[in-house]
């Protein structure tokens, strides 16, 4: 049985997205900047795509900027905001468990003289809101925080960022990396109080190579690329129309996230119950995390053999973030897990296509793997 549990890495494209990509390449391949019929048709497709993404986030289309994906959006938001605001202060507040596209960008800014504070997390990957309040001062120009952690599913208190900035009388822009949350829970930049938000296409069953950055109306950031009028000069370059059309189609095909969550939560609870019946399995994800992502450790069995064993049976799970394969998870290390848990994590991530039969196959696979694979001390 084929069972795919690595939806935090990437998702299977939905048929709506596949069709939209193909249609855009076959019938609507013009350059949206061209002033003839072919260009006009492409421009229309671009506009309607932008509207679709905007609608999902309950924002206006002018606030959506297409990029090449989550990593570029995160880089653009953090660097663009830091450079824009550099005269107003030099502190940037973030967390110790961000995705590497944030984390490494922050390290780069720290080298350039920005004062970067990465808030520590507890053993469920949660930050302490009080620490957030005391880290943000009037000198703070940017707060960036993920909405859902990509490895353990912890939901971060993003709405507290704006409040902390207001309390400290800081001009800080608020950025939220919502890549793992978008499409899986209600995500509204306005109610979260964020100025910038990253979303990605291939995590919501769209094509790879496209994402978007929400930039609240009135907020200015510096571009990272130069050479054209596209995306209001924030992200010039001919628009990747097929990918953008596919992204929009995938966004339109998203079911109501609140209702979908019920189903996923039921699946997750069922899986956790079955898993805890097996010995030597600990759940690293918080019980109140986003139920799409469950991180477990199979104590004594390293991730790689278990992953290979399951893969042999057509079951795909991962040992952590796909963007840092082979290394020990920095998120789990930050959570202060002991060595046995750090050696043996498995990340199981669901999508709306996940079935209970697949979950059963996974549990059976892990149980068999535990019997067959020799444990290490």
């Amino acid at each position: 049985m084929e069972a795919y549990f690595d939806n935090s890495a990437t998702t299977a494209p939905c048929c709506e997205a596949v069709k939209a990509v193909s249609d855009a390449m076959t019938n609507c391949w013009g350059n949206p900047s061209s002033l003839h019929r072919s260009g006009n048709a492409a421009k229309e497709l671009l506009d309607s795509s932008r509207e679709s993404i905007a609608k999902c986030l309950s924002v206006s289309p002018e606030e959506i900027f297409f990029t090449s994906g989550g990593t570029e959006s995160n880089n653009l938001a953090v660097m663009g905001a830091a450079y824009q605001m550099r005269r107003m202060g030099r502190r940037i507040v973030s967390t110790a468990v961000e995705h590497s596209s944030i984390d490494e960008t922050l390290d780069k800014l720290a080298e350039e003289g920005f004062e970067v504070i990465k808030l520590k997390v507890d053993n469920y990957g949660r930050i302490n809101e009080r620490e957030l309040y005391s880290a943000v001062n009037s000198n703070t120009i940017l707060i960036t925080m993920m909405l859902v952690n990509n490895e353990v599913g912890t939901i971060m208190p993003v709405q507290a960022a704006k409040r902390a900035a207001m309390a400290a009388r800081s001009p800080a822009l608020i950025h939220c990396d919502a890549v793992q949350a978008f499409g899986k829970m209600p995500v509204k930049p306005v109610s979260l109080g964020v100025d910038l938000m990253t979303v990605s296409s291939h995590k919501i069953h769209g094509p790879k190579g496209v994402g978007a950055l929400y930039i609240r109306k009135g907020v200015k950031i510096k571009p990272r690329t130069f050479g054209g009028e596209q995306e209001k000069k924030i992200r010039p370059g001919t628009e990747a129309m097929p990918a953008i059309a596919g992204f929009a189609a995938a966004a339109r095909a998203l079911p109501d996230p609140q209702r979908e969550l019920e189903h996923i939560r039921m699946l997750r609870d069922y899986m956790v119950e079955k898993l805890t019946e097996l010995d030597e399995i600990v759940i690293n994800s918080p019980p109140d995390g986003l139920p799409y992502v469950t991180n477990i450790s199979v104590l004594g069995i390293k991730s790689e053999p278990m992953l290979n064993f399951l893969s042999e049976r057509g079951i795909c799970v991962s040992s952590g973030s796909a963007c840092s394969k082979g290394k020990k998870s920095h998120v789990l290390m930050q959570m202060g897990l002991d060595r046995r848990r750090l050696d043996s994590p498995l990340r199981i991530s669901f999508s709306r296509y996940t079935t209970i039969q697949e979950v059963d196959a996974l549990i059976q696979g892990i149980a068999e793997g535990k019997k067959v694979i020799r444990a290490v001390k």
């Binding site: 790689e304 053999p305 992953l307 290979n308 064993f309 893969s311 082979g326 694979i373 020799r374």
Partner: protein, 391 residues
């Protein structure tokens, strides 16, 4: 004007009466290596081999990059083959060498005249060519001691050849001239380098890899394919034997003390490898070991490993530092593949505190708990093979 490759063989000139055999072997290797880059003709004359494309479909640049990696070649040149007429030689030199001459300041001309019927003597050819090039490229000056470029004109039986400074060849001896040996390859940095070094001494390679699914993944085996593919650019085609090793490793883990795990494992690998090597007519094993690098590579540990070997075990890296090995692996472009982070057979069940000074008595006693013969035979029987060739 036609472009050819002039190949100078190195050590082969020293081989006396066997020289012809070595040269034939070298030509055979080159012919095989260039097969998929187009049709080439090879002719041997006065210790120079000329590789000449037969038609315009040959990929000449690709051929040159392949020749660069063939063992048994001291140096080679890309040359223009032209009619033996001084006027033609001059004009061809100007046209053919222009890209190189425009990037330098000083040059000198050397001439070799093996066709003594050619009206000009070597010094005359030098003078004429030098003067002509100076007129055509006014930025150049002649420097006979330390020139940026040596322009060579060789007047031979059929053509005159014009070329710039000779390119260094891969050196060593023609692959196969020293027989065949089996490299034990895990996927780390060392074994591809060891394979390269022994191939350089004329050994034809087969490779043996131990796979332990699910502890090792398909990616780990793919990595070995990529490494060998890279090595095969130098050594020619390699047949890889993949040995199923899970049961052996689990059995050692279940039955032997932890501190001796690696030494017993290596002895098992040697036993299996030896059988495969004998079956495939290989006369030696090759490993990437270096004294003291890890616990299983101390002198006592190597002695324990060697105790089960009846054929010679070549360890070309034995006295090298890691950075020296890394330098070679970078040179042959295996380093970036080697550092991919997949678990391999050597890192599965690595003991926390391995014995660094095992004795043969102790190891043999530990092995009593193993069904050595059955495990070895089953591993050999389950072995599958694939051919790996970069071209």
């Amino acid at each position: 004007m036609k472009e050819v490759i002039l190949i100078k063989n190195g050590e082969l000139a020293l081989k006396g009466l066997n020289r012809r055999t070595f040269e034939d072997m070298l030509v055979k290797n080159m012919r095989r290596r260039l097969e998929s880059a187009g049709k080439f003709n090879f002719t041997i004359a006065q210790s120079t081999i000329v590789a000449e494309p037969v038609d315009e479909f040959a990929d000449f640049d690709e051929a040159v990059s392949r020749i660069e990696k063939v063992f048994g070649i001291a140096g080679f040149s890309r040359a223009a083959a032209v009619e033996k007429d001084m006027e033609t030689i001059l004009r061809s030199a100007e046209e053919y060498l222009a890209p190189q001459l425009l990037g330098i300041r000083t040059f000198k001309v050397e001439a070799k005249r093996s066709d003594k019927k050619f009206p000009l003597t070597s010094p005359e050819i030098c003078r004429e060519t030098g003067g002509y090039l100076l007129r055509k490229f006014p930025h150049l000056t002649v420097d006979v001691h330390n020139p940026d470029l040596v322009v060579t004109v060789e007047v031979r039986d059929n053509y005159a050849y014009i070329h710039g400074t000779q390119i260094k060849g891969a050196g060593g001896m023609p692959t196969g001239s020293a027989g065949r040996a089996a490299i034990l390859i895990s996927g780390g940095i060392d074994s591809p380098v060891a394979a390269y070094m022994m191939a350089k001494r004329g050994l034809e390679l087969i490779a043996i890899h131990f796979a332990s699914p699910p502890y090792t993944s398909e990616r780990a085996e793919q990595k070995v394919h990529s490494l060998l593919k890279q090595v095969s650019k130098y050594s020619g085609r390699i047949t890889l034997y993949v040995v199923p090793f899970t049961e052996t490793q689990e059995s050692i883990k279940d039955n032997c003390p932890e501190d001796i795990f690696t030494v017993v494992m290596r002895r098992m690998m040697m036993r299996v490898s030896q059988i495969i090597a004998q079956r495939e007519h290989a006369g030696a094993l090759i490993t990437g070991e270096s004294v003291g690098q890890v616990a299983s590579q101390t002198m006592p540990a190597i002695a324990c490993t060697d105790a089960v070997c009846e054929m010679p075990v070549f360890r070309p890296l034995i006295g090298m530092d890691k950075d020296e090995v890394v330098a070679i692996s970078r040179k042959i472009d295996t380093f970036d593949i080697s550092i991919l982070p997949y678990e391999d057979c050597c890192t599965v069940f690595t003991p926390k505190h391995p014995k660094t000074k095992p004795t043969i008595d102790y190891v043999e006693k530990c092995e009593e708990a193993l069904e050595v013969e059955r495990l070895v035979n089953e591993a050999v029987d389950g072995t599958r093979f694939i051919h790996i060739n970069a071209y």
